[in-house]
């Protein structure tokens, strides 16, 4: 038998013959690789290894030699006799392994998508197993993310429930109030009409009766006179005289009566404070639900699928991301399915075949069952998952990996790909009845039939082993006997080579009587891992007996490991064991790299989740039913201001003047009530019946029984009655809805500080707002008379609308009110009204920022503070910006309708942004919006603005203005640390009230001067605490007067309220989003977004006003869009972001997306060239001023970047500079300049 076998063994490969070829010398060898390897290709000969005979090779190669059929028959016979399994590779053709390039019977390896030899495949499977372990560990470590999410989702569920219920309550409340107000008013009006009708009827019937009597009397008189006043009757003179008197009197009566007659023709008309349509519209749309989009902070790059815009993607929640991921995945399947349609069957079939051979042996049955049969049975989804072209895994995974398992970034792409692929395969195996994660589509392995089967097989195998333990000693010798001699050697040999390929077969003989948890498996497992060389060495040095057994054990452990891996759920003991030894090799590597990743990712996701959780919550308080609280207060506010107006109606109520005039500041309404009512009494009976405290017809509207809301809009409307701006009420209303609580707070809590301020300050803007409202064009400014006349008209209308019969005959005397007296009255009146509205507006706008931060901060949710501001996503922000701009264009075009729609739209949008509304949405033009109308303005600002407008009207273009520059107007400061002196001033900015704000860098403080350079205040000191600076650089003031400071060496941005109190800070040193490296210039735009020149990071970062990171652009370099040490930044009102790209000696203009719009300038000292430009400023016309630091001059450019003017030189005199820093332009065109080395500010 021995010899028989020897005869069947090829002399070259020492294996059983495979495809034996007979040489002419009668020796036989396997065709591949034996005979093939013998070929002498040069001589086309083959030399017989046995007899050294040389034979020519047939034309078609060694295949051309005849097959030794006899030998083959013997081989078959031998198989029959011995019952040996047929060689699995028989009938296959040898190929080059794609990994080790050995010729072998290759099969497809799913790991590397290549056909590889069994050895390589074994190694690969080993790798896969280890990778699964590693990834599994990662999953275990990061699973808490999902758990966190779960708890967050739960919290969110709660919060959204409470949120919704509170909102619906609020809606209910509003509904009740509105309906009550409507009902009350309707009832009242009906009553009024009824009453009026009664009285009028009464008087009319009386009059009618009287007239009838008169007529009959007079007629009878006439008749009598006709008949009897003649010769026929003898009248004495006395009688005739009396008769004549009577007749004369009749004549007079008739003549005089005409006038009175007209008095009774009056009709009652329903005068609506609003266009009813509009009113209905307002009510119909009295509220909108603003769904808060949650904002993701920076640093969540892991969550960010590549290819998406940064902001957009960030705004997506985990959940949405996950579902998106799934869609993509499915799409991927679809695509691959579609593309790889035809080639699928063979490919898929082969894969299946291979795969089935992997765990056990080749099994054609299975092939059919799992492969083709399965594919048809399992339907669409199955096919989709089976068919994906291999190459697509990678790309698809790249897209999905972060979402699925973000700690996966560490393993090489192989491992990563593997994890996906593995799932993929499992999916293909048993997509059907598996439990799946609804979000990720990850299935439960334990549920898949294939896995179950495998585990079961394994189990049975093991049992079998356990049943006959005596078998163990007999089986090992075959492999281990020689190892006694040289244990490490054998061990190694087997473990590296044979064992891998034989694992499955040996499973039978391998098991140990011991249970899998025995420690020995762990040893062998670790030994098997190539990665851990030192362990390898250790185990090799282990004593012989153990090593000998470890050979077997390794098989056993292998099986047990496999088993435990697969049935993690089935056997808890094993389950617990395996993770312990298995992770060991991977732990070290995996933890190191993944932990950081995973933590950051979890951090970000957690924070985002928190934010998302907070978002709904925080919106709640905004809409609290505290509305009710505000009503009385507001009405009080109204009542206080309205009397002011009426008090000035001296012409007809002069006796009240002494009482009224002092009530400029709010006074309780109660004292006024008697007065006004008495006043009413004098005017009309009917009005005296009412308990209205208000003297005028318009004041009626604000009666307490009307909804305060309507009253307010009534005022607003009244004040802008004659203007075409219909949307104003809407704005005020919506504003009112938006921030009632804060408003109430202003009124109640901040009374001492704010109310007075508002009352004073708001007066002036209110006039301007009034102006803009009442006039379409600026020319109205130049002719104030028209406005007066308009107001007068209005006043007269008011008078008329009042039941003028109350005035009675007196009306005649009142009528000739001189314009001089009437106009101021009307003016004051309107002013009173409008100041009320604007006061409210401002109170609100202020509250929405300054107060919010101050008042809400005790609530401790910083998110709270963000409120609406945080609601906006980047996309929204962009939309807004452009929306705004387009509305601005509308305005420029001067079309009234465009203006109103645009502005209302922008107002609404701004509301949705949570940003403060301007008291006037329609600045006369885009330009002065920022400065003029947006913020509490002092009278000077108004005059300045007015002057600017006047200048514009007069035709003085800013260009000419700039061309005339170069003469110093005045300068501020000098070296020192006292107030008003500087040490290296850097940033400069103009406040909304034209104040000059200077970052006094090396004195670590901010100084504020008035428009004329008089010192006002300073704040800040050296340090890194709140409100402390370390060489601050840039300074900016937003529309509501907050100071935004780039605290340079502290690498953060600080925000201060208008009085210089610290509000918040954000940022720290670093290069991540929201971190800084020497932030320098800073600016803010109309929407409150903050732009920071992150100098050493060579980029610009954009934040919301609350410090939430929005976006960034720029990177180190000198190409367009690159930046190198950007120093200062400015944003035009057309949303062009102008950056001084200092080390590139140029100015770059970006759009808000960070896309380069234009670039100008190069290094040099000619016109239009720069040397290290620093400060940049842009005026309302878009002209750009550049502090050309290295050339010590100012350059002014057209909006398109063409050169306009340059002035200045080196020196310390007037108009000379040493080292320029920040630059700013005031609304009236003055240029402020930080002359650093001269420690002063120069104004041109």
């Amino acid at each position: 038998m021995e010899q028989f076998e020897q005869l069947l063994t090829c002399a070259i490969c020492l294996d059983r013959y495979r495809n034996p070829k007979l040489l002419p010398c009668q020796h036989s060898f396997c065709m591949e690789p034996c005979l093939e390897g013998l070929v002498d290709y040069v001589r086309r000969q083959v030399k017989c290894p046995e007899c050294r005979a040389e034979h020519r090779i047939p034309y078609q190669g060694v295949q051309g030699f005849p097959t030794n059929v006899t030998l083959q028959r013997f081989l078959e016979l031998h198989i029959e006799i011995t019952g040996e399994l047929p060689d699995p590779t028989s009938g296959q053709i040898m190929e080059r392994c794609n990994v080790c390039s050995e010729k072998a019977y290759c099969s497809f390896c799913f790991h590397c998508d290549k056909k590889v030899c069994p050895d390589c495949k074994g190694a690969h499977m080993d790798i896969l197993r280890r990778e699964i372990c590693r990834i599994n560990n990662q999953i275990r470590r990061s699973i808490h993310r999902l758990q966190d999410s779960l708890s967050l989702v739960e919290r969110n569920t709660q919060s959204i429930q409470t949120n919704c219920s509170s909102v619906s309550e609020e809606v209910e409340e509003i509904y009740r109030r509105l309906s009550k107000a409507l009902k009350d008013r309707t009832d009242y009006l009906r009553g009024e009409v009824d009453r009026y009708l009664c009285t009028e009827l009464r008087t009319l019937t009386g009059l009618k009766e009287n007239l009838e009597q008169e007529i009959s009397n007079i007629l009878s008189n006439c008749d009598l006179a006709d008949k009897h006043i003649n010769e026929s009757v003898d009248w004495d003179d006395c009688e005739l005289m009396d008769a004549k008197e009577i007749f004369l009197k009749t004549v007079e009566f008739i003549r005089n009566f005409e006038y009175e007659n007209s008095d009774y023709g009056r009709k009652v008309r329903l005068i609506l404070a609003h266009d009813p349509n509009q009113l209905v519209l307002h009510v119909a749309g009295f509220g909108d639900l603003n769904i808060a989009h949650q904002q993701f902070g920076g640093g969540s790059a892991l969550l960010q699928p590549p290819g998406g815009g940064p902001g957009l993607m960030r705004s997506k929640s985990d959940h949405r991301l996950a579902s998106q991921f799934r869609q993509q995945e499915e799409r991927g399947y679809d695509k691959s399915y579609g593309e790889g349609g035809q080639e699928d069957l063979p490919l898929g079939g082969r894969k299946f075949g291979d795969r089935t051979t992997r765990p056990t042996t080749a099994n054609t049955d299975r092939y059919d069952r799992y492969g083709r049969g399965g594919a048809t049975d399992y339907g669409d989804e199955y096919e989709e998952t089976t068919r994906p072209a291999r190459s697509r895994y990678r790309s698809r995974f790249n897209r999905h990996a972060p979402a699925e398992n973000d700690s996966d970034t560490e393993p090489a792409t192989r491992g990563v790909r593997f994890s996906e692929q593995h799932k993929e395969k499992e999916r293909t195996l048993d997509t059907e009845e598996v439990t799946r994660g609804p979000l990720s589509g990850i299935q439960r392995l334990a549920d898949s039939p294939r896995v179950m089967k495998k585990l079961q097989e394994n189990e049975t195998n093991k049992k079998k082993e356990k049943e006959n333990p005596p078998l163990q000693p007999t089986t090992p010798p075959k492999a281990t006997q020689p190892t006694v001699k040289k244990p490490p050697l054998a061990n190694r040999q087997v473990s590296e080579d044979d064992e891998i390929s034989k694992i499955k077969k040996q499973n039978k003989g391998a098991t140990t009587s011991t249970a899998p948890p025995e420690p020995s498996p762990t040893v062998t497992v670790t030994k098997r891992s190539d990665d851990v060389e030192d362990r390898h060495a250790n185990t090799r040095r282990t004593p012989a007996p153990e090593a000998a057994s470890s050979d077997e054990d390794s098989d056993a452990s292998e099986s047990s490991v496999q088993q435990t891996q697969r049935k993690t759920t089935k056997t808890p003991v094993v389950n617990r064991r395996t993770p312990a030894p298995e992770p060991a090799p991977t732990h070290k590597k995996a933890t190191r790299s993944t932990s950081s990743d995973s933590t950051t990712s979890t951090e970000s996701s957690a924070s985002s989740a928190i934010r998302s959780g907070a978002a709904p919550e925080e919106t709640k308080p905004k809409y609290t039913p505290r509305v009710t609280d505000t009503t009385p207060e507001r009405t009080r506010a109204l009542s206080t201001s309205t009397p002011k107006g009426s008090s000035n109606q001296k012409t007809f109520q002069s006796r009240f003047l002494p009482n009224r005039t002092p009530t400029v500041v709010p006074t309780p309404p109660s004292p006024k009530e008697p007065e006004s009512s008495s006043e009413e009494e004098t005017e009309s009976e009917e009005e005296s019946d009412e308990d209205t405290p208000k003297p005028t017809g318009t004041a009626d509207m604000s009666k307490t029984d009307i909804g305060a809301l309507l009253a307010r809009s009534a005022h607003a409307r009244d004040s802008s009655d004659s203007s075409p701006k219909k949307d104003e009420p809407q704005n005020t209303r919506s504003r009112y809805e938006d921030s009632p609580t804060t408003y109430s707070r202003t009124r109640s809590n901040e009374e001492p500080t704010y109310t007075s301020r508002f009352m004073n300050k708001n007066r002036t803007p209110s006039t301007t707002t009034d102006d803009t409202k009442t006039s379409d064009d600026t020319d109205k400014y130049s002719s104030p008379k028209s406005r007066y006349s308009a107001l007068k008209d209005r006043r007269q209308r008011l008078a008329r609308s009042k039941s003028s019969h109350a005035f009675g005959d007196d009306d005649e005397t009142d009528e000739p009110i001189s314009p001089t007296t009437a106009n101021p009255t009307a003016y004051m009146q309107s002013r009173g009204y409008s100041s009320t509205t604007s006061a409210n507006d401002l109170a609100r706008s202020r509250s929405s920022h300054a107060l919010k931060s101050r008042e809400n901060s005790p609530d401790r949710t910083t998110a709270n503070e963000k409120d609406g501001a945080a609601l906006s996503s980047w996309a929204r922000y962009l939309k807004n910006k452009y929306g705004n701009r387009s509305s601005g264009k509308d305005k420029d075009s001067g079309s009234g309708t465009g203006t109103s729609s645009g502005s209302s739209a922008s107002a609404a949008r701004r509301l949705s942004l949570g940003l403060p509304l301007r008291s006037s949405d329609v600045g006369s033009s885009d330009d002065d919006q920022k400065n003029m109308s947006g913020s509490p303005t002092t009278p000077t600002a108004v005059t300045v603005a007015a002057a600017g407008i006047a200048a514009a009207a007069a035709g003085t273009s800013p260009k000419e203005q700039y061309l005339q520059k170069s003469n110093l107007l005045f300068k501020i400061g000098g070296r020192g640390s006292e107030p008003g002196l500087f040490t290296w001033p850097r940033g400069v900015a103009v406040g909304p009230d034209n104040s000059i704000v200077v970052a006094d860098s090396s004195n670590h403080r901010v100084q504020v001067f008035d428009a004329n350079g008089n010192f006002l205040k300073e704040f800040g000191q050296y340090g890194n605490g709140e409100g402390e600076f370390d060489c601050l650089a840039g300074v900016a003031i937003n529309r509501i007067g907050q100071f935004i400071i780039a605290d340079r060496y502290n690498h953060r941005i600080q925000v201060f309220d208008p009085s210089g109190r610290f509000l918040r800070s954000f940022g720290s040193q670093g290069a991540a989003d929201g971190r800084f490296n020497y932030p320098w210039g800073i600016t803010t735009d109309a929407l409150g977004f903050i732009y920071v020149c992150d100098k050493e990071n060579h980029r610009v970062q954009v934040f919301q006003s609350d410090g939430t990171f929005v976006g960034k652009f720029g990177s180190m370099g000198n190409k367009p869009g690159h930046l190198e040490h950007p120093h200062y930044i400015a944003v035009s009102n057309t949303n062009r972001v102008i950056v001084s790209d200092s080390n590139n000696h140029r100015i770059q203009i970006f759009d808000v997306n960070g896309k380069v719009l234009s670039t100008f300038g190069s290094e040099g000292s000619n016109e239009g060239q720069f040397k290290f430009p620093r400060g940049v400023a842009v005026d309302d016309q878009g002209f750009i001023c550049v502090a050309d630091s290295g050339n010590n001059r100012i350059q002014i450019f057209h909006p398109d970047g063409t050169f306009l003017k340059a002035f200045g030189s080196w020196g310390s005199g007037d108009g000379e500079f040493k080292g320029l820093e920040g630059i700013a332009v005031t609304p009236n065109g003055n240029i402020l300049l930080c002359d650093r080395e001269n420690h002063r500010i120069q104004v041109f």
């Binding site: 002399a11 070259i12 490969c13 020492l14 294996d15 034996c34 390897g37 013998l38 030399k47 017989c48 290894p49 046995e50 050294r52 080790c100 390039s101 050995e102 030899c117 050895d119 390589c120 190694a123 006997q481 020689p482 001699k485 040289k486 490490p488 050697l489 054998a490 190694r492 040999q493 590296e496 080579d497 044979d498 090799r540």
Partner: protein, 151 residues
């Protein structure tokens, strides 16, 4: 390194399982293609009683090319030089894939029994062997005692 060809594994196993009398070949721990070989001096030869260490390396294309074999122990033999290189046809042009490690080693053992001074590698030894075979044999015995019997 690519996995070992099955043939090498088989040969190694067989060498270990059915060792050739007088020859032992053990693969190196770190390199399965490198064998530590000990050949006993054949009886009735001047090398009788000596244990000769050799190294054997299976090149990449083994068995298509011959293994590299070299004596480590000094030996006084006309076909083996001072460096231990062996002049044996089957290790050169007469190599056949049908040969194996064990056959090679047997051939080497046979070469010890039958030195072939006509195809010399160590010329001085071959010369002496031809001129004065007795002295040569005496030298060989002495070397064997000197180098191959110490350990």
């Amino acid at each position: 390194m690519a996995a070992l060809p099955r043939r090498i594994i088989k040969e190694t196993q067989r060498l270990l399982q059915e060792p050739v009398p007088g020859i032992s070949a053990v693969p190196d721990d770190s390199n399965a293609r490198y064998f530590h070989v000990i050949v006993t001096g054949p009886e009735d030869s001047p090398f009788e009683g000596g244990l000769f260490k050799l190294e054997l390396f299976l090149p990449e294309d083994y068995p298509m090319s011959a293994p590299k074999v070299r004596f480590i122990t000094q030996i006084y033999h006309p076909n083996i030089d001072r460096l231990g290189r062996i002049c044996l046809d089957i290790l050169k042009d007469k190599w056949s894939p049908a040969l194996q490690i064990r056959t090679v080693l047997l051939s080497i053992q046979a070469l010890l029994s039958a030195p072939n001074p006509d195809d010399p590698l160590a010329n001085d030894v071959a010369e002496l062997w031809k001129v004065n075979e007795a002295e040569a044999i005496r030298n060989a015995k002495e070397w064997t005692r000197k180098y191959a019997m110490d350990n």
